[in-house]
Structures are given as C-alpha cells and as structure tokens.
C-alpha cells in the first residue's frame, strides 16, 4: 500500500488539475471554420437558407438552435447575465425588444458594421423599433400584420355568409364582431366564436397607437387610455358571455381546440397561419379561410436579429444577419414558409401579392397581408410593456374562469399593472 502511494501529493494535484482543465475548454472554431450559432424560436423557416449560405461561404458553418418562445427568452436573459452561452445571432421579438434595449450595451451596435446603409430596406417603423438613439440593436425580419381567420364550415352551419368579402363586410369594427359573436352563439351553442378573450383584446389593442404607456413620456396611462379600456371591456364581455373557448394561444389546449374545431374565428398575424396548419393537420385543411380583420390592420409580433456582444465572430454574424434579412431572402421565406416580410419592396412584389394559401381555402394571403401592412400604424410599446401586458391577460383569464366580472377584473388589472412597473 505504502509503495503505491509514494507520490500521493503529486498524484492528487495532477488529478485536481486534470479536473479543472477538463472543465474549461472551448470549441467555436473547428478546423479553421467559423461556427455561427443562430438562436430562434418557433418557425423562422431558415433551414434551407442556412444550407445555401454554407454552400456559398465554405468557411462558415451554421448551427441552428430552435426553442419555444418562453425558453428562448429565458435562456437569452440568463446567458446575457452570465456573460456567455448566447448564440452569435439571436432573434428578439418586438414586444421583448424594449427590455433588451435597456441593456443594449450587451449587444453589438450594428451601425458599427454599416447597418445604417440598409435603413431604407425596411418599412420606416420597423427600422425605428430596432433602433434607439442611433444604436442599431436588430435587423428586422418579419412583421405580424393582422388578418382574421375563420372557419367556413362553422359559419355556414350558423347560417352566416362564408364568402371572404361578405364576412369582412359583416365585421368592419370590433363592435360588429362582438355582435356577430352573439348571432353565431344563438345558432351554434356548442362552438365558441373566438379562441380567447386575450387574443381578441391583443388584436384590438395592437391597432391603437398607444397602449399602456404614453408615447410622450413613457408614463403609465392604462387607466386613462380609452383604447385599452374599450378593448378590455369588449373582450371581457365576450368572455363573460361564454363566447370564447378560453384556450391560451400556442398551448397544447389551443392546438387541440383547433383540431377539434372548438372555435370559429381567430385574429391571425401572418406568422400564425403556419401554427394553425401545424395544429390542425389534414383534418381541418380547407375549412379555414382568411379575410380582413375588423379595423383593417394592426401589427402583432415580428422579430429582429441581434448580435450579442459576447459573440466571438460579430463581423461574420452581422454578415449572416444582413443576408438573412435581405429582400431576396425575405421573399423566399414568404413564398416557402409564409413569413411576412417587413420590407415594402418584398410585400409589394407581384409574386408575393399573387400568393395564395391552399390550406386556407386558397385565400389570397399575399394580397390580404400586404394590404394590412400598408395601412399599418405602428404602436408605441413602452419600456415596461412586457411587465404590464401579462397582468391584463390574466385578468381576462379570470373572467373566462368565472372568478371575476369585467369591472372587478378591470380594476385589478389596472392596479396590478401599475404595481408591475415598480
């Protein structure tokens, strides 16, 4: 025994060193190739583009990291806090953007690489959203101009018209939409008119230039802004009358509700079509259709590509982000994956406008969304939008669950929203 451990000290130190050295190690540059990681959430439709980019740039290898929305932003926050682990290109959604603009020094100012030259590529408000005081945080990808998706078969069963133009004419305003919900419920008591009060509310609110915060000084105006109150009371009324299916968007229950045909309408931003297709599968293919949304337009969602400062290859990352958001690629994304570009030259392209979607009864989605995009009035979100928004969503949820009436829920939401700002 003694013999075996004649140099135990050295052995222990060696063991400890081994342990430490194996814990540290990096591998971004493999065999002279630069590896770029691109983190996105949901469906960006980038995979074929990555393959093409790799073919055109032999020195670049692209790793795609796709997670769900919540996981994506939780990881980004922890990675920024820890100072490592973030991807080279990270997609940030428009509602999340103000939160990250508060710590924009954690991201590369893309103006340093010449992003300002690209400015005119985008619709002006899209560019403005991604920029703060000359600091270019992100390059715009898609936008979420709004339309209204509805089930033709369910409308027919309720004795309502099914033609796109006729349906749009039935609901020029949200009040008309709510009235239609009543007519529908009288004929079709088992099917709900809307998916949730939250999604009706969000669509309405997104048509308003200001939401919870004043564009002038970022002060909390939820209690004074009539748009917020009107949207809340209209959506809350639907909830109180049991005219919503009370399923939270993108949850398992929402997917099942689409497959089972539990609701007849949903305000759908361009990117939602893919999600409806995935949830519905072949069972409900051809039963859905798309028409103009009450109030004609509105934006909901849409993202930006950012480069965190911790990236080891910011220049290469910027080049890839610029390429991915260039009009040529955005057009391909729309035609192949239905992702609506935020660049007028693309959404006014004849090929894009002529695009129809077979799953949605050959609805002219290109034309519908382009028209919506042209009428779009961008809205001011405010720095604490992401803190306040959920409180109003939960209040509408409480109405759907029957634990509060609209007045109580409104009072609570205004109060909790104020507390959430801190």
């Amino acid at each position: 025994m003694r013999k075996l451990t004649s140099r135990p000290v050295a052995a222990a130190i060696a063991a400890a060193l081994l342990l430490l050295s194996s814990a540290c190690g990096d591998s971004t540059a493999t065999g002279g190739k630069v590896t770029l990681t691109v983190a996105t959430f949901g469906e960006f439709g980038y995979q074929p583009l990555f393959e093409q980019y790799e073919k055109d740039h032999p020195g670049i290898e692209i790793k795609s990291r796709v997670t769900d929305f919540d996981t994506h932003f939780k990881s980004l926050s922890t990675q920024l806090a820890a100072g490592r682990g973030a991807a080279d290109i990270v997609a940030v959604e428009e509602q999340q953007l103000p939160k990250y603009q508060q710590v924009q020094d954690k991201f590369v100012n893309l103006a340093e690489y010449g992003a300002n030259e690209l400015k005119n590529q985008w619709v002006p408000w899209k560019w403005a959203q991604g920029t703060k005081d000359g600091y270019v945080l992100g390059l715009g990808t898609d936008m979420g101009s709004l339309a209204m998706c509805y089930r033709r078969d369910l409308f027919q069963q309720a004795g309502l018209p099914t033609d796109r133009k006729a349906v749009a004419a039935l609901m020029p305003t949200w009040q008309a939409y709510a009235d239609l919900a009543g007519r529908f419920a009288a004929e079709q008591p088992k099917v709900k008119f809307a998916d949730s009060a939250g999604s009706v509310y969000t669509a309405m609110l997104n048509q308003s230039p200001e939401n919870y915060f004043s564009a002038k000084d970022d002060s909390y105006v939820a209690d004074r802004n009539p748009s917020v109150r009107n949207a809340f009371y209209l959506a809350g009324g639907l909830a109180e009358r049991g005219q919503t299916a009370a399923v939270t968007t993108y949850t398992q229950a929402w997917n099942v509700a689409i497959k089972q045909g539990s609701f007849a309408t949903i305000a759908c931003p361009a990117w939602m079509l893919t999600q409806i297709k995935e949830a519905g599968g072949t069972d409900v293919g051809g039963k859905w259709d798309v028409t103009t949304v009450p109030g004609n337009s509105g934006n909901q969602g849409g993202s930006f590509l950012t480069v965190p400062k911790q990236s080891e290859h910011p220049k290469e990352a910027y080049d890839l982000a610029r390429w991915l958001t260039a009009p040529e690629q955005e057009k391909k994304l729309f035609l192949n994956a239905g992702i609506l570009p935020s660049e007028p030259s693309v959404y006014e392209d004849p090929q894009v406008i002529a695009h129809t979607d077979g799953y949605f009864s050959n609805a002219p989605t290109g034309q519908l969304y382009a028209a919506s995009a042209n009428q779009l009035r961008p809205n001011y979100r405010g720095l604490h939008d992401a803190d306040v928004r959920p409180e109003f969503g939960k209040a509408l949820g409480r109405i759907e669950e029957g634990s509060e009436n609209v007045d109580q829920a409104w009072a609570d939401a205004v109060q909790m929203g104020r507390e959430a700002i801190k």
């Binding site: 451990t5 135990p8 000290v9 222990a12 130190i13 063991a15 400890a16 342990l19 919540d70 939780k74 926050s77 922890t78 920024l80 806090a81 939160k99 990250y100 508060q102 710590v103 954690k106 299916a245 009370a246 399923v247 939270t248 968007t249 993108y250 949850t251 398992q252 229950a253 929402w254 099942v256 509700a257 089972q260 539990s262 803190d387 959920p390 939960k394 209040a395 949820g397 409480r398 669950e401 029957g402 634990s403 959430a420 801190k422």
Partner: protein, 303 residues
Amino acid sequence: MRDRGTFGARLDRKATPFLFIAPFFAVFAVFGAFPMLYTVWVSLHDWDLLAGDRGGFGFGNYVQLFGDPRFYNALGNTISIFLLAAIPELFVALCIAALLNHRLRGSTWWQTGVLLPNVVSVAAVGLVFAQLYGRDFGVVNEVLGWFGVSPVSWQAHRWSSHLAVASMVMWRWTGYNALIYLAAMQAVPQELYETAALDGASRWRTFWSVTVPGIRPAIAFTVVAGTVNGLQLFAEPQLFDAGGGGTGGNDRQFQTLAMYLYEKGITKFDAGYAAALSWVLFLVCVLFAVFNYRLLRRLVRSS
C-alpha cells in the same frame, strides 16, 4: 537528508488525506458555497439580472418581501400542496413497502416497477398530467363524467389545481419512498417479529409496534428530504401552468415559492429580490424540516 525525509513523510501523512478529499471541496466551494454567499450579497442590493448592481445596499429587498402579499400567497400554496402530497404519499409508500416486504412472486420486478415513475423525466410527467387534467378533452374529466360530475377546469381553482399538482408529486415520489422503507424493513431483526408472534400480536399490531419503530431513521430521512423537496416544488406546477408565464394560474392560485422566485428573478430581472426570496425559502425549509422531524419523533415514540 534524513530530516527532510521524515518531514516529507510527516507532511505526506498529514496532508494527503485532505488532498484526496480536496476535489470535492473545491467543486463545492465553486458551485455550492460561492453562489450561496454571492446570493447574500445580491440580496442586499437593488440588483438587475442583466444590468447588475444598481446600488442601494441594505435590507430593502427583505423588508419589501415581508410586506408582499404575493409572497404569502406563494408560501400558503407551497405548504398546501406539500401537505396534500406528502401525507398520503408517505402512508401509501409505507403500505407499498409492507406489501413488497412479503415474499411476492417476481419481487425484483415489482421493486423496479415502483421506482419507474421517479426515473421518468419530470418534464414528461408534467406534460402528460397537464393533458390528463385538460379541461375540454382530458381523461380525468372524461372519467368523472361517467359518474355525472360536470367537467372541472383544473387550473382555474385553488383546490383543484393543488390536488392536481399534488397528484403529480405523489406519482413521482411514492415509489422512491417505498423503496427506502423496504430497504429499512428488511433490516429489522427477525427476532422481534418472532417475539411479537409469540405474544400473539396481530399483523396490524406487529406492523405498527415493530416495523414502523424499526424503520424510524428511514421515515425521518424521507420526511426531512420530502419537506425540503416539497417546499422547493417548481417543475410540476410550472409545467401545469401551460402558457401562463409561470405565475401559477390567472389568480396565482398555484404559484409556489420557487415559481415566484423564478418569476421575479428570470422573468422580471429582479435578481436582488429573488436572492432575498431564496434565502427566506432556505430558512422556511430548515424550520419545516426541524419541526417535522420533531413531530415525527414524538408520534412514533408515543405509538
């Protein structure tokens, strides 16, 4: 030369054992002690997860915490779910262990079987249970419907959400506890059972007077470990709250302390508050573990 040799040997004898255990302490210092102490530091500041220290040294976070109704709401939920899960869980585990302790055909199969729920990833358990408890198309409501019960919106009410989350916890931990009890039961001296049989004690009596006191250390372990796990409950309720953003329902009706910590620290970036909360959670765990341990000692001794 000779002196140096003995000095070296002496040092060797003294220092070597410590060096051998050093890797553990090194790892513990880096991944255990340092984060804990750092959390104290963070909890004493107004600390943003991304922006870092924003000054304001003091007990502000703690003061705010003790005046925060959402903290007490989360504390109440945590304790309620813990009690709903732990008490039936330990009794059922005791019964399963007693059954397995008898010679059963294929006992290895059964013993492995009861551990299976614990091996399955908690994420999978959460997803499956969330579907079972689905409001519109869930199996549980379907079965209840056979008995004329109208569909329950499990996430919507405090009582129903607590029951549902507690059932997930029970599903995961009952088998694990049963195996610990079983191992302890097999170490109870056979003579005690023979004596009890000679005295004419019933099987029920033998179980409560011989088996249960005989496995007291195992019960103590499961109670303390169960308390610590139960009070830190996170994954099950978080996954049960599909799309809710981690607030545990629209009225925070099943938000646990760990979920509130996560909401504050990761969703709202308020790392200072979250750090303070984690220390209070730690103290709550210690208090409960000591209380439960004492309670158990009294209960088992009196029987």
